[in-house]
């Protein structure tokens, strides 16, 4: 086995977990919604190659 290379996310403590869950309950911000729409358009328009 080689060394772990991906930066895994370590389990969250109670306070951090609750902060995250409370935030997710609100859903996306308007800024995130707009950013995601642009991301979908951009990713779709970019060519995928093979090397």
């Amino acid at each position: 086995m080689h060394n772990m290379a991906l930066r895994e996310i370590q389990p969250l403590e109670e306070n951090d977990w609750n902060t995250l869950v409370d935030d997710l309950e609100k859903g996306q911000t308007k800024e995130q919604t707009a950013f995601l729409q642009e991301a979908l358009k951009h990713a779709e328009s970019m060519p995928t190659a093979e090397y």
């Binding site: 996310i9 977990w17 995250l20 995928t48 190659a49 090397y51």
Partner: protein, 171 residues
């Protein structure tokens, strides 16, 4: 000093043994160079992480991103303190590594790679549970994410910080 590039000559590809520019990839973080040169393909062959590369002019590797299915987990919390969310994990797409070639920064490559990650996660979330795109940012990369993306930050005491993007669009 960054070199300006013609973005229409940039292509995205899955990492292979014959991907151009791997040996000449430069980044201030040696761990990023080691990852793309020594570890990424091994992870990919085991289906642990898939690395996508951004190639300029069919010869220069200007950036890469590694993606993996993952979950954000909570440590053991007494049931009375768990709040409204009943599960102990949040299914997510992990950005396991992301780096741009030092000489090609400020060309929109990082944003393009984030766009791809969000797009893949969003498409997957139509068929498989996937609520966020998440990562542990390098300390010196947090400002970049804050300036260029609406990822949210959870600062953690004596632990690596977390950044995440919620995929749930309000209807």
């Amino acid at each position: 000093m960054s070199e300006k590039i013609d973005f229409t000559k940039v292509k995205r590809a899955r990492l292979t043994k014959t991907t151009p520019g791997i040996a000449s990839f430069k980044n201030k973080e040696q761990s990023m160079v080691d990852f793309i040169q020594k570890e990424a393909l091994a992870d990919q062959e085991k289906k642990i992480g898939i690395t996508w590369v951004w190639i300029y002019d069919d010869k220069i590797l200007v950036g890469f991103i590694s993606l993996a299915m993952f979950s954000i987990d909570r440590k053991e919390i007494p049931s009375e303190k768990r709040g409204k969310y009943p599960y102990s994990t949040i299914p997510s797409l992990l950005i396991g590594q992301l780096a741009t070639h030092d000489e090609y920064e400020c060309n929109g490559i990082g944003t393009s790679m984030i766009n791809f990650a969000l797009s893949e996660a969003y498409k997957s979330s139509q068929t498989i549970g996937c609520r966020t795109v998440a990562l542990h940012p390098l300390e010196n990369a947090i400002k970049w994410y804050e300036d260029h993306t609406p990822f949210k930050l959870i600062k953690r005491k004596e632990k690596l910080d977390i950044m995440y993007f919620d995929l749930l669009t309000k209807s």
